[in-house]
């Protein structure tokens, strides 16, 4: 069986962060989350739709997300994920961590 593509692999650690960030704008279902990540990155980031759900479960277990069945825009039942207060705090933590990481990488990558 083919495993996730290399680009998705690269993002494995950051997927949680992306999900939290997307949800900080409001609740969304699994499909919407995947689509939002893809469109916001101008299709640069291709989410492995399959790996989205284990990640969602993990975040749910950490108490950062809640999920509930609601009617979607197309009037179908979908499971919507929303941030909890702890989740909102986590978004801030992830932001700080990300900025620090980017800064570090940028310094390393600066032309000599």
């Amino acid at each position: 069986m083919p495993r996730p593509t290399p680009s998705a692999d690269l993002l494995q650690g950051t997927l949680n962060m992306l999900i939290l960030q997307v949800l900080s704008r409001g609740k969304a279902n699994g499909y919407e989350i995947a689509k939002l990540i893809e469109t916001r990155s101008s299709e640069a980031l291709q989410v492995d739709h399959g790996s989205l759900y284990p990640a969602l479960r993990r975040l749910e277990q950490n108490g950062w997300l809640t999920a509930a069945w609601e009617l979607s825009a197309t009037n179908r039942k979908a499971r919507y994920y929303a941030l909890t207060p702890a989740g909102r705090k986590q978004v801030d933590i992830e932001h700080t961590r990300w900025r620090a990481a980017v800064l570090a990488v940028t310094r390393v990558m600066r032309p000599a």
């Binding site: 790996s51 759900y53 284990p54 979607s72 179908r76 979908a78 499971r79």
Partner: protein, 848 residues
């Protein structure tokens, strides 16, 4: 089980959305659907991953494996059930045998530091037979001199029979109770103090000391109502007042069956050998050191007391547990080995069944692999399936063992010590756990090997190994079982020299302060005269020690007059010594070959006479003398041979000895056993004896009533028990082996059905097809048989003591086993091969 995860619905929704997206872009529904599926990935994998996130995921996985295993059990039910049942049977039998062996052989005795307790006795290399050499009272001091090697030493009788005491309490009928006269230190050697009262002291041994007795716990309970005030009370034993000084705790049963312990009175005669020494060594002293010390002592005895000791006497040191378990030890160990072999065979069978099942399931495995299951997951699945089977088998096997233990205890001969205490002890449960582990390995091994890339050849080789192992195990068990069975048959066929098996025998040793040789002769003459006059009785007699009472008897030195001059005084010739009344031979059915029986006229005043057995007579003849009229020196007196009787076996059915018979009116040793037969059945004879006895001397008691047939039966009971167990195991092994090779051949022809069909279509004869199909397996069978025979030979040699009338290398037995196992293997493999070769070629070709 975890709460259901909504993942399925979520994924469906997600897939729908992806599809809608493509439909909106103008794709056909099929393309859109394919895109959606590809984009989302394998739903099974996602489900797995989502589940794995859950904290209880590991448990859940196990649960699902078990459920899957259960389902797969139901689907492939027959084979798995069979495999589980075979395992359960193997586990049940081996755990049951282990429990018996554990209780009888391995369980610790109640005595502290039991490893330091040993029995010391003598073995005379000249007599060769298994004679328990006995000691006399003065040898206690000889042994005690070894202060470095011996901390405490006591003497006990080599056999309890003949030492019984008649106990009369209140108005109850007098009862004979097994009693053990012993020197003062016995309980200190054992390391157990009386539960009530005091131990013996050296003072109790002195001649003229007040008579005292220590009670066993069971005698105290049964005959003294467990009265704690019993200490200091007086009770009558053999009509003599004894003061009860102690009661032992219930754990002490030594020598086995003892109800009363009495002080052994000092006796300076070195010729009165009837005792064994029980020794406690200091912790640092090895049995070898003790043996060396005893050997030294016994050699000094020969030098100091020329007349009493033989130069060929040697010390024997037996650890206490071995002394107590005696010959039941090798028999039980052999049965345990056989049961473990059977368990291994059961494991091989189960493994084989699991292997063939997994072979059938290789498609399922392939499908699951394609669906994303990893090798690890499949292996985990097989492991759980194996564990499930092994767990069920162990539980069922343990249950079976509990039942089997009860049955075996019921079937076991009464003389195996401690067997009644057998049960599922912690050690037995540990043993069961080991067997369960073996069983699990057996269940997992086959399927796991199939996961390897070259599984087809691996599995073939594995199955050949299975057939080999199973054949070898079966041959080994069967050969040993058959050897023991042949030995038992030989025992049954043995002419013991006692033709009248219905003759009733019983202990009637006269007890009491007034009993002396003269009064005993009067009593027996009176009793026998009255009994012979009764219409129920055909003949009646009395004897010193009845046949098969035990391994210890009155072995006496003797010498022929013509040998007298040449005999080395240090080489003593011994023979079984019996004191008998007239009509004894006629009653027990020993043929009088030459000469005459004793009469009442062979009395004190008349010429001293003797009857000898045929083997002794043959010795005289070999020296060129006519035995009749020859004189023999027995017990220090010369006696003339007046008759020759057929050889008889008095100790054990499997043991020959020479016999000397002396008339009761010319001997001081007592007649202690009554023998009688009649037209009336034994029960009526017994009632008659009781009535007659009461009218002559109501203070006397009889004990141990049994017919000669029962005595012989008891003497061979252990062998019969062993034969039963071993043949049971052997038939189990045979059945498993037959089923094993049958299934191997059935599968190999099923796998090769296309090949067989093509050959068939091309005109191969059926005989050739069958030969091709089974020759390989039968070659493996022959190799397995060779290995099994080698094992059986080894095992048989180790158990040579249990064989009688047959050797471990008996070609007849070994050949019979080899032929039988081969025939069964041939038939078991021929049937499926023959059926397969007879199939319509079209069926075979269309099968796949």
């Amino acid at each position: 089980m975890l709460p259901p995860d909504p993942i399925d619905d979520e994924l469906t929704y997600h897939r729908e959305q992806l599809k809608q997206e493509r439909l909106a872009q103008g794709d056909s529904p099929t393309t859109a659907d394919a895109y959606a599926r590809r984009r989302l990935g394998n739903p099974l994998r996602i489900q797995e991953d989502v589940r794995a996130v859950h904290p209880l995921a590991a448990l859940d996985t196990l649960f699902r494996h078990v459920r899957f295993a259960g389902r797969s059990f139901l689907r492939h039910g027959g084979s798995y059930l069979l495999a589980t049942a075979i395992l359960a049977l193997g586990i049940g039998l081996s755990v049951a045998m282990f429990s018996l062996v554990e209780a009888v052989v391995f369980a610790p005795l109640p005595y502290p530091q039991q490893a330091n307790i040993h029995l010391v006795w003598k073995y005379d290399t000249q007599t060769a037979a298994h004679v328990v050499g006995e000691l006399a009272y003065p040898e206690l001091a000889d042994l005690r001199a070894n202060t470095n090697e011996i901390a405490k030493v006591a003497l006990i009788p080599a056999a309890l029979y003949g030492n019984g005491r008649v106990l009369q309490t209140g108005t109850n009928d007098p009862v004979q109770i097994e009693s053990c006269p012993t020197t003062a230190d016995l309980f200190q050697v054992l390391g157990i103090a009386p539960a009530l009262g005091r131990d013996f002291t050296a003072v109790d041994e002195a001649a003229g000391a007040p008579s005292v007795v220590i009670l066993s716990h069971s005698v105290w309970r049964e005959h003294f109502n467990a009265n704690p005030q019993v200490i200091g009370q007086t009770t009558r034993l053999n009509g003599v007042a004894h003061t009860v000084i102690g009661v032992m705790p219930p754990t002490v049963d030594f020598p086995r069956g003892t109800g009363l312990w009495l002080p052994l009175r000092a006796d300076a005669r070195r010729g009165t050998t009837w005792l064994l020494a029980v020794v406690r060594t200091p912790s640092a002293v090895s049995p070898q050191a003790l043996h060396a010390a005893a050997e030294r002592t016994f050699q000094v005895q020969v030098a100091d007391h020329l007349k009493e000791y033989s130069r060929t006497q040697h010390a024997v040191v037996t650890p206490l547990p071995e002394y107590l378990t005696g010959s039941s030890r090798p028999q039980l160990l052999l049965a345990l080995i056989a049961s473990v072999l059977l368990l291994l065979s059961a494991c091989v069978s189960a493994s084989n069944l699991f292997l063939s099942r997994s072979f059938v399931r290789r498609k399922e495995v392939a499908t699951r692999t394609a669906l994303g299951a990893s090798t690890f997951q499949i292996l985990a699945q097989f492991t759980v399936e194996g564990l499930l089977a092994a767990t069920i088998a162990t539980a069922a096997g343990s249950l079976l063992a509990v039942i089997l233990i009860r049955l075996l205890i019921l079937a076991a001969p009464a003389d195996i010590p401690r067997i009644a205490a057998a049960g599922l002890s912690p050690a037995a449960l540990a043993f069961a756990a080991v067997t369960a582990f073996l069983a699990t390995l057996a269940c997992i091994l086959g399927p796991a090997l199939l996961l390897r890339p070259s599984h087809a050849r691996t599995s073939q080789r594995l199955q050949a190994t299975f057939v080999f192992a199973q054949t070898a195990l079966t041959v080994a068990i069967l050969a040993v079982g058959l050897l023991i069975a042949v030995s038992y048959q030989a025992m049954l066929r043995t002419d013991t020299g006692f033709a009248n098996r219905e003759t009733l025998t019983m202990n009637l040793a006269l007890r009491g302060p007034q009993v002396d040789p003269a009064s005993r002769r009067r009593f027996y003459f009176d009793l026998l005269t009255r009994l012979r006059a009764a219409p129920e009785v055909a003949s009646a007699a009395a004897v010193l020690l009845r046949p098969f009472e035990g391994p210890v008897g009155w072995d006496s030195d003797y010498s022929f007059e013509f040998e007298g001059g040449q005999r080395d005084p240090h080489l003593l010739t011994k023979a079984n010594f019996e004191v008998i009344t007239p009509q004894y031979f006629n009653t027990v059915g020993t043929a009088l070959l030459v000469g005459r029986d004793f009469t009442e006229n062979d009395a004190e005043g008349s010429e001293r006479v003797l009857i000898i057995s045929q083997s002794l007579a043959a010795r005289a003849k070999a020296a060129g003398y006519d035995p009749i009229g020859q004189r023999l020196r027995v017990h220090g007196a010369w006696r003339k041979v007046v008759g020759i009787v057929a050889d008889s076996r008095y100790r054990r059915v499997v043991e020959k000895a020479d016999d000397l018979y002396v008339p009761y009116r010319q001997a001081n040793p007592p007649t202690n056993y009554l023998v009688l037969r009649g037209p009336a059945p034994p029960a009526e004879l017994l009632a008659l004896v009781r009535r007659t006895l009461k009218s002559i001397d109501p203070a006397q008691a009889i004990a141990g009533e049994a017919t000669l047939g029962q005595m012989i039966e008891r003497n061979t009971a252990r062998s019969r028990f062993n034969v039963w167990i071993l043949l049971l195991f052997a038939s189990g092994a045979l059945l498993l082996a037959a089923a094993g090779i049958h299934s191997v051949i059935r599968e190999s022809v099923a796998v090769r059905s296309r090949e067989i069909a093509i050959k068939n279509a091309l005109g191969a004869t059926r005989t050739r097809l069958v030969a091709e199909a089974i020759s390989g397996a039968l070659l493996v069978v022959v190799l397995g048989e060779l290995a099994g025979l080698a094992g059986a030979l080894h095992l048989g040699r180790g158990a040579a003591d249990l064989l009688y009338g047959v050797s471990a290398a008996d070609p007849g037995v070994l050949l019979a086993v080899a032929v039988l196992v081969f025939t069964i293997a041939a038939v078991a493999s021929f049937v499926p091969a023959w059926l397969a070769s007879g199939q319509d070629p079209r069926t075979g070709l269309q099968a796949e």
